[in-house]
């Protein structure tokens, strides 16, 4: 699954990942590969990306998560 975490002026993360966990305004979600198309508002919390080489965590205040075509995009 391709994951992109981007701010307007910089890319925080871009690459292959096994899963992505985030806190949406409705509760916590974990996106696994081949997740159905999904859009959600993110709440304050930590976005965790698990890759083959370990975990990466990103502090998030708000943002939008979009999943489509086996691709997850987090816009901060």
């Amino acid at each position: 699954m391709q994951v992109t975490i981007a701010k307007v002026h910089e890319n925080l993360f871009s690459g292959d990942a096994l899963s992505l966990s985030a806190i949406t305004t409705e509760g916590e979600v974990t996106i696994l590969p081949k997740h159905e198309p999904f859009v959600a508002n993110l709440g304050k919390g930590v976005v965790t990306v698990r890759t083959a080489n370990g975990e990466e965590k990103f502090e998030v205040v708000d943002g939008v998560l979009e999943v489509s075509n086996n691709q997850a995009t987090v816009l901060l």
Binding site: V8, H9, E36, F38, A40, S68
Partner: protein, 305 residues
Amino acid sequence: MALKDIKLKIKSVDRTRKVTKAMESVSAVKMRKSQLRALSGRPYAAAALSILERMSVSLESIKHPLTTVRTVKNAAVVVVTSDKGLCGVLNAAVIKEAERAIASLELPRDAISIYAFGRKGAEYFDRRGYTIEGKFENVSDDVSVADLALVANAIATAFVERRYDRVLVAYTNFRSTFEQNAVSHAVLPLSLESIAPVVSGIAPEKGKFAVVEKSKGPSFYTVEPSPESVVDRLIPRLVSILFYHALLESKASEHSARMVAMKNASDKSRDLSKSLTRTFNKARQAMITREVSEIVGGIEAMASA
């Protein structure tokens, strides 16, 4: 011209060339950096737009305050120019484009507020009696979205409060190192049709950074908590991206325009210095010839005496 004068002139032309050469190299470096920066915002803008696009069915029914079209009684124009000159027609072109956009609004002068990024635009519109609502000078090359957020929010709030019914932006679009166009378009009220070409045009048409990629999204989404709330979040982001993008494009354009202008100046001064050296050599030769003929004339006169 006396020999000494020509020599001085050559020296001064050479000195000018040193300056223009230096400015050229500096601009070249800055241009590359600002091109990179202009490009880095593109995936974000494209993603935000594509999410919005796919929810556009609901967007029409939502009536977000930033997308409401009203009859235009008051308008704001954001003009992005440079602080300094020496960059060819760049600023003149933006100002002309802004004037054209203002004229097309058909509003009295006092119904228009100007937000000026860059001293040149601020000076121009100030002299002509427009209300300068905001003036921003010395905007650094690596301006961040957070810096812009204050202005973008102020403008958006004013729009929501109906102090402006339309917000335009005039800036220079960077197409390639040798080609920059002054463009203007409406930012508010926000509409998908008006911003789609802007977002797709974020990459330059030619050159190193000209890449085009297009991803197709699915036709439906599971949206949490609701399309409205997601759109609510995306729209202010897109508005600030549009301003941010205009600023970055203008920066890239400014540096490339200056680089080209300085290159022309350097070339011209090289030509001038060459032709002056030729004049100098001619004058020197003429002087030597005159001196020799005077000496020869003197000897002749002495010999015949």
